[in-house]
């Protein structure tokens, strides 16, 4: 009884979301002060060190493993002030969470025509999710990106294309991967969706030239222009201030990195195998360059070309979910932080999805997804802390299994959107 009335009040849901994050924040302060095992994420110490370098007029890249835009260090500049200001970054990320959740709620209400209670329940997947709250209050910046991505979605749906373009440019500068949304947004911005009236008589089959001309409508041009301007503008500013290290750490590192240390990605074992020097070749480290470059192909093809082309016009938020899901699943590196990238789209897709309408499928998917991670983590624990060589078969089989589960769920998402079940 109390539960159902809880979701009728937006004030209640948002208050609990804020309270949840506040509690985690304060608990984190205690744990950090009392125990050598810190609640705070290692990344947060990287960001704050970089912010301190910035406050001294130096480059944030003086800090090892700072591989982000200098803007992030600038955003959390107040942590350099004494006392509790050190936690400013975590507060900022947690506030970002809440704003993202509010925007999700607003989009569900306005553009998916959901009644308040239902919208609050689905927004609650993000707002009341302890995993999301923990990640932000530990000081990981994934939640901050969430604000910008959801804002991007809102701006597109609200037809504020210039704002959307700027947000897209900024998001790509921040994290690179949001470039995939350019494909789905541009494809979605066809004359139907922007509300241009077609002529009443049926169109004959268009020639390629006509199609091409019709493709270039005002909205698409505005989006392209503003996103390019923002992206290039930010890069030029950052490069002029911080020089080549900015390009190296913010972009090049991410494009050429091979994270040898074990992670969920199915490519991990093969990358270790290929890059490790072989005795038969005189201990020369052989290059696994082909594999790394080839691995981009299924990933980019799926997330940037095929999914947007096939699904974007049917439902934009669910397409973005499928794109991100494909991008993360087929990526050469996969850590649990990346799950947040697609989790932020779940509130838009789940309401009409097979995963909820068919209990058995939904529960099986969830159980397998959790089991896949659990199996991998168990093998990882045996390797890292017990010193057993679980690289093969354990970690490899676990990562392949988890990959297959993710592909299965992706398949369900795609089928749902393609069949038109997900009402825009």
């Amino acid at each position: 009884m109390a539960l159902s009335s809880f979701f009728r009040s937006s004030r209640a849901v948002f208050s609990v979301a804020v309270l949840l994050r506040a509690v985690f924040l304060i608990y984190g302060l205690f744990q950090d002060a009392l125990s050598p095992m810190k609640y705070t994420d290692i990344d947060y110490f990287v960001f704050t060190d970089a912010a301190r370098f910035i406050s001294q007029g130096r480059s944030p890249y003086a800090r090892d493993t700072y591989r982000y835009t200098p803007l992030l260090a600038w955003f959390i500049y107040p942590i350099t002030w004494p006392g509790f200001w050190f936690s400013f970054g975590k507060v900022l990320f947690a506030v970002g969470d809440i704003i993202a959740g509010w925007m999700m709620y607003h989009i569900l209400r306005s553009y998916q025509n959901m009644p308040q209670e239902r919208a609050l329940k689905f927004a609650g997947i993000w707002l009341l999710n302890p995993m999301v709250a923990t990640i932000s209050t530990r000081g990981s910046s994934e939640g901050l990106l969430g604000v910008f991505i959801i804002a991007l979605l809102w701006a597109v749906l609200a037809k504020r294309i210039a704002v959307a373009g700027a947000l897209l440019g900024f998001a790509v500068h921040f994290k690179i991967y949001p470039f995939i949304y350019a494909a789905s947004i541009v494809w979605w911005l066809d004359n139907d969706h922007i509300g241009k009236h077609k002529t009443s008589k049926p169109q004959p089959v268009d020639s390629f030239a006509t199609v091409a001309v019709h493709f270039v409508n005002r909205e698409r041009v505005v989006l392209a222009l503003y996103s390019l301007l923002t992206f290039v503008g930010l890069n030029v500013i950052m490069y002029s201030v911080y020089g080549f290290p900015f390009l190296e750490h913010s972009y090049l590192y991410h494009l050429i990195r091979i994270d040898h240390r074990h992670n969920f990605s199915p490519y991990n074992t093969l990358l270790y195998l290929n890059s490790s020097p072989k005795p038969t070749l005189g201990f020369v480290a052989s290059s696994s360059f082909e594999l790394e470059r080839l691995a981009f192909i299924p990933q980019i093809f799926l997330s940037f070309v095929m999914i947007p082309f096939s699904l974007a016009k049917k439902n934009l938020p669910s397409t973005m979910l499928a794109q991100t899901f494909a991008f993360v699943t087929f990526n050469k590196v996969c850590t649990s932080q990346y799950f947040l990238w697609y989790m932020m789209f779940l509130p838009f897709y789940l309401p009409d999805s097979t995963l909820l309408r068919s209990r058995p499928i939904g529960i099986t998917a969830l159980v397998l997804w959790v089991l896949g991670q659990f199996f991998w983590l168990q093998q990882g624990y045996q390797l890292e802390f017990l010193g057993q060589s679980t690289f093969v078969p354990g970690l490899w089989i676990a990562s392949i299994f988890f990959f297959l589960v993710n592909v299965g769920v992706l398949g369900i998402v795609i089928t749902d959107v393609a069949s038109g079940e997900i009402c825009p």
Binding site: P36, T65, R261, P266, S275, G387, F391, I414
Partner: protein, 247 residues
């Protein structure tokens, strides 16, 4: 007539009462071995200016994360005072076959128990004043090349443990024809420092050698027959499957 001359020296053995140390690696090792140094009794400075240090030389497959040694709680839980110096290959992510340097060297200052703590322990149930003093240093292993076995056995040399003391005669040390500086960790201290060495336990860790061995898990090539074809096959099959669902 024979002449005897004496010059001040930089390095001295510790005067009695005897103090020795044993170094070993914690087990199970995993990918994050901890170096454990056990001193035979609670150390007391031979004179008030002395500070206890340990100097590690780590081969390239081991490394230390200097950022973890900035937290006071972390340091005191390991009986460390601070990380004074770290140099060499300190990349936190690279595998061993990418590292071109021989390794890294680290100098730690060690926390010494206060006299009150020693007399406290004398009265406690589980220790007498000779119960020893433990220092631990967490380290990390880099990935080693794959091989035809599940583990690779790698050596880790013992660290050296010494007191670094202020010596007023330090300026006279340049007259000593046998004094050589900047050969090792002496360069990390000022010219007025002299060193009093804590001896390692005579039998090592029972092996008679001052080396510890770690079994590092590596990719076992005897089991990787399916990895290449399997991974590529799965990726291609799922990619085609998703294409089919999309169109």
């Amino acid at each position: 007539e024979p002449t005897r001359f004496q010059t001040p020296t930089r390095h001295y053995p510790l005067p009695p009462p005897p103090l020795t140390y044993i170094a070993r690696i914690s087990t199970p090792t995993g990918l994050h071995p901890t170096l454990l140094i056990n001193l035979s009794r609670a150390p007391q400075p031979p004179n008030p200016t002395c500070k206890l240090h340990t100097h590690l030389t780590l081969p390239s497959y081991l490394f230390i994360d200097k950022y973890s040694f900035t937290d006071p709680l972390f340091l005191s839980s390991h009986n460390l005072h601070s990380l004074r110096s770290l140099s060499g290959a300190t990349d936190l992510e690279a595998p061993d076959w990418v590292i071109k340097q021989w390794g890294s060297a680290a100098l730690f200052e060690i926390v010494v128990p206060l006299p009150s703590q020693i007399s406290d322990r004398a009265g406690t149930r589980d220790g007498d004043a000779n119960a020893g003093w433990n220092i631990s240093i967490p380290m990390h292993l880099r990935y080693l090349p794959a091989s035809q076995s599940s583990h690779a056995s790698v050596p880790v040399p013992w660290p050296v443990v010494f007191w670094a003391c202020r010596s007023e005669e330090g300026t006279k040390l340049s007259t000593n024809p046998f004094d050589r500086i900047h050969l090792g960790y002496e360069g990390l201290f000022g010219p007025k420092t002299r060193f009093m060495h804590v001896a390692p336990s005579a039998s090592g860790n029972g092996t008679g050698r001052l080396i510890e061995w770690i079994d590092v898990p590596v990719l076992d090539l005897r089991k990787t027959a399916w990895v290449e074809a399997g991974t590529v096959g799965v990726v291609i099959a799922t990619f085609l499957g998703l294409c089919f669902v999309l169109f």
